[in-house]
């Protein structure tokens, strides 16, 4: 009990201090500039009650999940295939690395003018943001498999299936999960970017409308919510990563 208190006290202390600073700062500046924490909560409650918030959340979730699941569904098998076929991997590697390091936002204007304002172009944006971390990290994992391991497996006449199950997958999956964690973060950025710059929907639209109406409380409420979602998803990604990395420690 005492121990738990001492462990968690600094956390709550810092949260309360932060909220207090926010409250005081909000009250001592113009409402067009910043609103205090309590006003933000009130505004958030209004958004929840009016139903606008849940519609937005649902729209955004649909976009996020579609793009993200597609990215993993493509990135993981392709990455594993590249892991096994060395010549293909060597050939494709620099291009994956290049696309991984390219800021994908720069492609949004092209997607807009070629595909217009539907659901599909927005999914494409989320997909492009998320797929390369998965692919890049899976290939990185494949590169880390020591050739001796495969040679040993082969000299014991391991079947292809057993080789995948016992060597390839356990070795690459921890890396893939690092990619999945990165992809979660990037897909979230892609989601908001798509909602800002393509057809305006979801949580992105919620902020846009609030800022166009100079509804600073609405802007703060939306940022708070998206921030909390971001923190939650990041934690989920970290758990996933640690779960799969367990055997390596």
């Amino acid at each position: 009990m005492h121990h738990a208190l001492r462990r968690h006290a600094p956390f709550w202390l810092s949260i309360f201090a932060g909220l207090a600073i926010w409250e005081v700062a909000g009250r001592s500046t113009s409402a067009a500039f910043m609103v205090p924490f309590t006003t933000t909560l009130v505004r958030l409650w209004q958004l929840v009650v009016s139903g606008g918030f849940f519609t937005a959340l649902l729209d955004s979730s649909e976009l996020f999940l579609t793009g993200f699941v597609l990215a993993v569904a493509v990135g993981l098998p392709v990455g594993l295939l590249l892991a096994r076929v060395r010549i293909l991997r060597v050939g494709v590697e620099p291009y994956i690395m290049t696309l991984y390091a390219t800021p994908m936002v720069a492609l949004i204007p092209f997607i807009l003018s070629m595909m217009g304002f539907g659901f599909a172009p927005k999914v494409l944006v989320v997909f492009l943001f998320a797929v390369f971390p998965v692919l890049y990290n899976t290939v990185e994992g494949a590169r880390s498999i020591k050739p001796e391991l495969i040679e040993v497996a082969k000299s014991f006449r391991s079947s292809e299936w057993a080789l995948w199950r016992e060597v390839m997958l356990p070795y690459t999956l921890p890396y893939t999960m690092t990619g999945v964690r990165q992809a979660i973060g990037r897909a979230l950025v892609g989601m908001i970017a798509a909602e800002f710059f393509l057809s305006s929907t979801g949580l992105g639209q919620l902020i846009m409308i609030a800022s166009q109406n100079f509804d600073t409380g609405g802007v703060f409420a939306s940022i708070l919510i998206i921030g909390l979602i971001g923190v939650g998803l990041m934690r989920l990604g970290l758990m996933l990563e640690q779960h799969f990395a367990r055997w390596r420690q």
Binding site: S14, G91, M97, T98, P103, G227
Partner: protein, 272 residues
């Protein structure tokens, strides 16, 4: 040094072919590159409208774009903003990160905020920043800093935390001052982490700059891409994308190279 006795026989056993920069690496890469370009070219010719970017069109547009003063000015503006933002980020991020790494109280007080801000998709702050700083370069600058600083802080804090205890004990037994411990031990020991943070931060800063230019319609490479693709000059716009990609990759390679060159003792993970 005892490690070498173990590693040599293994590496001899697995040394089937020379590893890097041999023909066996370059040939498949060139072939894949050619295949990608051919598919792109013919797919666009067959399926897409004439304005859509294709490799031949982009190559033809390169000399025109690179001598276009509008493009050069845009590039200069974006890069100057990113460089200044990264500079400020590096200084303050390192200070805050080292402080976090070395003081448990400070770490506990702010780590949740750093983690939290780091998890916020940076682009959501744009409407707020544009309210605060107006539709100007200041908003882009603030976005760059917001996008980059938390990655640096987290990495530097990790680095400062992982300074080997023996180093600090030795310095204490020689009665080293706080400052010389900081500059002589903590900073050099966390240098690889700082560089890893910079690599992450540079990518994010670039995204932040482009997104801000889209959002605010202020001059820069991002706006150049937006403007030209809106007016159906996709080939010209794509040169801007190539520049951004080149910048991203160049920075990645530079950081990797400098870690290998200047910090050869540092190995990331278990892939040697």
């Amino acid at each position: 040094m005892s490690e070498t006795a173990v590693t040599i026989p293994v590496s001899v056993a697995s040394a089937r072919k020379p590893w890097r920069f041999t023909d066996s690496m370059i040939v498949p890469r060139v072939i894949v590159g050619i295949v990608i370009l051919l598919i792109w070219e013919f797919a666009v010719r067959a399926l897409a409208p004439a304005y859509v970017a294709k490799p031949t069109g982009v190559v033809l547009a390169i000399p025109k774009v690179l001598t276009d003063p509008v493009f050069l000015k845009a590039t200069g503006e974006t890069m100057a903003s990113v460089a200044q933002g990264l500079g400020i980020t590096l200084i303050f991020g390192t200070i805050i990160g080292v402080w976090m790494g070395r003081s448990l109280t400070f770490d506990r007080a702010i780590r949740h905020y750093i983690n939290g801000f780091n998890a916020i998709p940076m682009i959501v702050v744009l409407p707020l920043f544009s309210l605060w700083f107006g539709y100007s370069g200041y908003t882009r600058f603030a976005t760059i800093i917001f996008a980059a600083i938390f990655a640096i802080i987290m990495n530097v804090a990790d680095g400062a935390r992982s300074v080997p205890r023996e180093y600090l004990e030795v310095s204490r037994s020689f009665r080293a001052g706080r400052l010389s411990v900081l500059l002589g031990i903590v900073l050099p020991a966390s240098l690889p982490y700082i560089l890893a943070g910079v690599r992450l931060a540079a990518g994010r800063a670039l995204i932040g700059a482009v997104v801000a230019e889209f959002f605010l319609s202020i001059g820069g490479v991002g706006y150049y891409i937006l403007y030209n693709s809106r007016s159906y000059h996709h080939n010209e716009a794509f040169v801007g994308v190539l520049l951004l990609a080149g910048f991203g990759v160049g920075f990645e390679l530079l950081v990797n190279w400098s870690i290998r060159r200047f910090m050869p003792w540092y190995r990331r993970g278990d892939n040697s």
